[in-house]
Symmetry: C2
Subunit: 545 residues, 2 copies
């Protein structure tokens, strides 16, 4: 028995039409260094039509890929809407990737057009000769001669290209399961992997962003979107804003604490989204040079856990609630958002706030232990988090050429590579990446927990823990330590420092002092490099009895 | 290019699993007259499995219809989840329909099972002999002998039937476009028409209920659901609650102001939903006998516009925000919700609050004038509202047998039969039903506006205006008037009373005094009957020059 309901597609075209009409007066303000330029959703809608007409004119048809190499700004927002709404696929290139990764990604996605901000054109120019499928580059927010392009690639000015175009476009009715946008994960192993979002997944995810158990974005909000538009679709904010009418503040390239504080004071956002390190910097600047940030009701953090002390300072000193969310490129990204249950004591509410949050109805989760069996949701049992749902990826783009990627999936579930616990009421606490867990004699040792304890020692600047093969225990922890300048400590002393902090069998016996911890392009500890160095015998390891 | 996203179904089964696990501790409290019985979402989940097992045992397979003839209570909530999740179709029968309408509906839907509350079993008993396809009746909340059933229909006790069943059920993966639930509209013309909701439409609508620009339902809420579960799926509250974890207070048969106030005081709901007349009664009772209703943050009204004076009294005296929403059975029902834009003056905010609200992204709208052309969104131009979207019906169930129902649709849009205006920012103001608009010499006259003016005369108890044929103007208004007991007034006097209230050409020349205005089963003016009486010459009309 079929329902009598209408069978329309959930598409970016409908979001574009809705936002630019019903919320015509909502705004996108782009920071310019000493102020902001502001455009309305109605104007973004007209520019999206102009951009779509221009791209058609450049020969973009079907589901060809249009890449962006841009900061967060009004032009990037325009591309976010125009490219999928015309049926093409938006590919956000990460400005911070290493050149060879950019080359791999652009060629793998077969980008036909790149839209670039003039301020980062020199960065693009370095890799553009290696982009094999690109035919056109559109330079936004500056002169087109900001870009030196090789022969065979035509360079256009955004302003000139759009100037003559019609502000109407006959947006097609796109199948909701068709590709709308793609983003490659900056994995620390192997080549980057492409996640391809559908119109449907973006629509449903946008609804989740606006839901009370999501980010609660509303027409009354103005959101300062610090998380880059090239990182997991800016956590869905650009699309959710057009769904609900929230205004946007876009920082462009001004991501340092002082300009961020200037934006907050000048444009009075009610909401913001960024990784914890950004807020750490903002807090430090704020403590030195007081500013009015009272407009902020809530800021969402993801990408890493926020130190509790920082959450308390923001709440108690500045009246700003920091809300934890968990997700990844593969999960669109909202996987969980922390909304503590009502009616609990303040202390209990804070304990909830420290977690990565609760599962929404669109994300089904399970924890899988070392033996492949599900572990209970008891807040204690540890397992790898696996998720599934309508905005979770089920595969990677064209991965069969490099391998089938099947190790990332498990009977239709995405293996997140994150390890942690779930409470009976669906609150997630993540402690480690699964590859960073040390499997010692059938028990799991958290490398992150060991690192945090070692880094609390006054002589230690940084510490990274990896698992190394062990004849008796399968694997044991090796602690690599960077000492503070001028400080000294012995392995025995550091081992002693851990004695009352972790279980006796978890105390590491393998120690190595190193000059610095190798980092990935996004600043995370690159344990792959450390493991390789150890395997090649390049680490000077002290083994204590 | 297909996306890499997972392709799962949006289904009631996933809502049931999510709510009963992640929100296991949320509650459904059913009022018993002097208190409440409370059950958790986990227990509702277990009972849903027991009910599904029992229904399978009674032979329910495929998409057979299981009807309910029940108040709002925990058992009705259980049926809401179990029936669609097992793949069958929930059919909510309206307790207030006339017997011949119930007979028509149950036979048209081919209901196989009816679940009935013992307190309304006598009502069902009257019509049950005319139900041609029903094989089983399950009596809930009372002894099964509360129901006298004809031979051939087996009667079961809910409690006994569920007692022996397993609390596990292997819920099928149901196609999201399959039928989940159905509800017939109590139209004032022709037979009732069946709207069949899909799993997908209910899922998307539930998200909208939880969105900030929808009802904003959240895990921190407890909602007192006064709107019956047999009226437009209780405005989606039962499903939205399982999506976000909001607790529910169900009033069962206790819908009078005093017990409603007792529930609010005892169970402290934060949210509620009901038609304005309910709140009018609650307010009158509250003014006589003060109660603590401070737990309520917001109440949603729909079905009719709320008098501004009542909205102000609730806000200013009791701190309760009344939020207008517009919808109908055919729209799931959320079509618009009134969330005034931020940053406006108090006066302007109030003007927004009086409207029926703003269109969400899932509802596309247009206004169509008398000539079939779209009228502009200027807040002034009047047209019939037409809507489309993924939770809007595109047809009626098996209507081809009585006609194709095509007059209700227009190029894929639902003709709502409501007439009004839209502002440039998508706020809807409805003034009339299209069939109640009087088309006089190419201009439209609002019958509702005339009625409101006539009813303001001290001698008038009720007034209903219909359009009657006119040789010169096509149609002119006829005012039927019920005088207050002991009062008197002449047509001339009433016409004079309108002189400074409406445009001269709108002042009616046709008047008839009647003993009472005929009403529909839900208490609305039944103008169909008045038109028939006029056509048959049964009204004593005075025609003024």
């Amino acid at each position: 028995m079929l329902s009598t309901m209408q069978d329309g597609n959930l598409s970016i075209g409908t979001l574009l039409r809705h936002g630019s009409r019903v919320h015509a007066g909502s705004t996108v303000s782009t920071w310019t260094g000493d102020g902001a330029r502001t455009t309305t959703f109605a104007e973004i809608g007209a520019d999206a039509a102009r951009l779509a007409n221009a791209l058609r004119g450049l020969g973009v048809t079907g589901d060809q890929r249009v890449a962006t190499f841009m900061w967060n700004n009004a032009e990037h927002q325009t591309a976010y809407l125009a490219v999928p709404a015309m049926g093409a696929v938006l590919h956000t290139l990460n400005l911070r990737l290493f050149p060879d990764q950019l080359t791999y990604i652009a060629n793998h996605a077969e980008d036909k057009v790149v839209i670039v901000d003039a301020t980062v054109a020199p960065l693009l120019a370095k890799v553009l000769p290696t982009f094999q499928t690109v035919e056109h580059v559109i330079v936004a927010n500056g002169p087109k001669d900001a870009l030196q392009a090789p022969d065979g690639i035509q360079v256009h000015s955004w302003t000139e290209l759009l100037a003559g175009q019609s502000a109407d476009f006959d947006w097609p009715d796109v199948d909701e399961r068709a590709a709308a946008a793609m983003c490659y994960t900056s994995g620390t192993t192997g080549n980057p992997k492409g996640v391809v979002y559908s119109h449907r997944s973006i629509w449903l995810h946008s609804m989740q962003v606006c839901m009370s158990d999501g980010l609660g974005l509303s027409p009354a909000d103005t959101s300062l979107v610090i998380v880059p538009q090239f990182h997991a679709m800016s956590w869905g904010m650009p699309y959710a804003a057009f769904m609900c009418g929230a205004s946007l503040v876009m920082p462009d390239r001004f991501l340092q604490p002082e300009p961020l504080l200037a934006m907050i004071e000048a444009l009075k956002p009610t909401h913001s989204a960024a990784v914890p390190t950004i807020w750490q910097g903002v807090l430090a600047a704020l403590e030195q040079n007081p500013r009015d940030i009272s407009s902020l009701r809530e800021v969402v953090v993801g990408g890493a856990a926020c130190p509790p002390s920082m959450m308390h300072t923001f709440a108690e000193k500045y009246g700003v609630h920091i809300v934890h969310a968990w997700g990844m490129t593969e999960t669109s990204p909202l996987g969980s958002v922390c909304r503590p249950p009502a009616g609990r004591s303040e202390e209990e509410t804070w304990r909830y706030r420290y977690t990565q949050g609760r599962l929404p109805a669109g994300v089904r989760a399970r924890l899988v232990g070392d033996d492949g069996a599900e572990v209970p949701w008891d807040g204690v049992s540890v397992g790898e988090l696996e998720v599934r749902g309508p905005w979770i990826t089920g595969s990677y783009y064209r991965l069969d050429e490099d391998g089938d990627g099947s190790e990332k999936f498990h009977d239709g579930w995405l293996r997140t590579g994150d390890v942690g616990t779930l409470t009976p009421d669906g609150f997630l606490t993540l402690t480690d990446r699964s590859k960073d867990i040390i499997k010692s004699g059938g028990e799991w040792i958290s490398s992150v927990e060991l690192e945090n304890h070692v880094m609390a020692h006054p002589s230690v600047a940084e510490a990274a823990v990896i698992g190394v093969p062990d004849a008796k225990w399968d694997e044991r922890p090796l602690v690599t330590v960077v000492l503070r300048e001028g400080a000294s400590a012995t392995p025995e002393e550091l081992r002693g420092f851990l004695a009352d902090k972790v279980a006796k069998w978890q105390v590491p016996e393998n120690w190595a002092f190193i000059p610095e911890v190798p980092k990935t392009s996004v600043g995370k500890f690159d344990k792959k490099v450390l493991r390789a160095q150890h395997a090649e015998g390049r680490l000077d390891v002290t083994h204590l009895d």
